[in-house]
Symmetry: C2
Subunit: 310 residues, 2 copies
């Protein structure tokens, strides 16, 4: 197995590219793919400050690392979500990564600063934990970007993530979501731009990137996400990819090129007027924002111990 | 396990309906679903003559049976495709079905009447056999409908088939195919209308329908189709369906309701002008139709023995 670029011994194969790479050329390929995605979708402009939403997993740490390697002014932000030992360990990986490299990492603890955690919010709302978790993360990333003056929030969603979300949206033809599933969401009205620089790279490549650059990350998946539909969609697409390498890339980028625009403007109706939330000041179409409502509902609920989903 | 309708002992469960049925109410449910599909998509009108494209498998025989049960004037048409013993056995099942019920079955043998068979055509065109097979079947169904005065050709495509084809088209965002993937294709210009009356019923239900009505059918899949991508798509969707019963129905009917129209008119450009094929007289945009070209290419090729795809 020889490197496609230098013909030296290869350490990894990338089947959808029908290519093998040595360590150095694999890392360069990853950087090139991120640079290509940033350019292709006009994700970042010179001088902009980036806040990377860090979980402590391979994708967000690699995303942060890659943005710095490409010369961007990128800091990190990690949230203590209160999902038992999993959250403690995740946060520790993020802290170690930042300390070893002398990088700025912002931190927010959901229970200390907002009086609840994800398991309690899931119980209070009687919905899947991923729902309260996603809402909280989006709110806190936006608020941190406003507070600290970042133009852009970057997340570590990779090609496997985006293809699986797309598959879920297509299976139910959720046209509103399909109209919004883009690698860049524009900012404005008090919201930072959202970007996904890893959309051209798969899960396996991100794990390899971390191993080959010496990034320690939390390997476990979130225990509350076990058994969710998203993982089922990933498995189904993995079977397709094994049969025809490149299927995921074609699926996601074919959507962006030939279908996405057909679903634009689906939320429709009048443009929404935003006003500051009465409680926290975040821009919201209602009097109180969804995060503050979640926080209030959860405050009435006894803190619950972590339970895995079955 | 009790029948949803009469509370008598049930013989089958239909998970996506969260229901069990006794024999009689299962058969009624199948008839009702076919009647609903015919009505919903305006497939058939009173007095129209239907030609059922019969393969000898469960779907096409059940389709024929169901259309007769619902009172339609439906005859059958089977093609000897020359796929070794598989074709002989398939044709025999179709013949037995028709004879036992005193029904009219038209027959055409590809090698005897057109000088080639599917394995030879696959070799001559250096493409997957399903390609030459599909082209030949579409041509011969259309020609038989014209010759014998049928208004409509019905095929036995069931929900699993349509969902898998849709999945394949969506995976590659083949917008032209997405614009045409409908349960009814209008007729005109010398072509019969094409209808798929089984789109509301799954593969497993069609097998049960045959068993419970005493229809003998060929159980084996076509040996030349083994390993094709379509089967991989079916497997992936089966995994999703097992996790969330009803997913396939939502996927296919959600597409028809909320997405299909967005892909209409994709073939675009000027309306195509059709003229009679110089060889066979079928309407075609070219001087010689695709079937006659296939027949000519295959005539130059030594007949080949059946080979399974790997």
């Amino acid at each position: 197995m020889k490197c496609r670029v230098c013909r030296g011994p290869a350490v990894i194969d990338v089947r959808r590219q029908n290519a093998n790479y040595c360590r150095d050329h694999f890392l360069r390929m990853c950087r090139d793919q991120v640079a290509k995605a940033i350019d292709e979708f006009d994700m970042l402009h010179p001088g902009e400050r980036v806040l990377v939403a860090v979980s402590g997993g391979k994708d967000s740490l690699a995303c942060w690392h890659l943005l710095r390697e490409l010369g961007y002014d990128a800091d990190g932000f990690v949230i203590g979500l209160g999902i038992g030992e999993y959250s403690d360990a995740s946060t520790a990986y993020a802290r170690t990564f930042a300390e070893e490299r002398g990088l700025t990492l912002h931190y927010c603890n959901l229970r200390d600063e907002h009086g609840f955690d994800v398991p309690t919010a899931a119980k209070a709302t009687k919905r899947v934990p991923c729902s309260a978790c996603g809402l909280s993360k989006r709110h806190l990333f936006d608020a941190a970007a406003r507070e600290h003056g970042y133009d852009v929030v970057a997340t570590g969603h990779n090609l496997d993530d985006e293809a699986a979300v797309l598959f879920g949206n297509v299976l139910r033809w959720q046209t509103e979501y399909l109209g919004r599933q883009l690698p860049v969401l524009p900012g404005g009205n008090g919201f930072p731009r959202k970007i996904k620089p890893l959309v051209r790279l798969g899960e396996r490549e991100m794990a390899a990137y971390c191993v080959l650059t010496g990034i320690d990350y939390i390997v476990e998946e979130c225990p509350m996400a076990a058994g969710n539909k998203h993982l089922g969609y990933k498995e189904a697409l993995n079977a397709i990819e094994a049969q025809s390498p490149g299927s995921k890339l074609d699926f996601y980028f074919g959507f962006l090129k030939r279908a996405s625009a057909r679903f634009e403007g689906e939320s429709g109706g009048e443009p929404v007027t935003l006003q500051p939330c009465e409680r926290c000041g975040s821009p919201t179409p209602a009097a109180v924002c969804a995060f503050c409502k979640l926080s209030e509902r959860s405050a009435d609920c006894e803190p619950v111990a972590l339970r895995e989903r079955r």
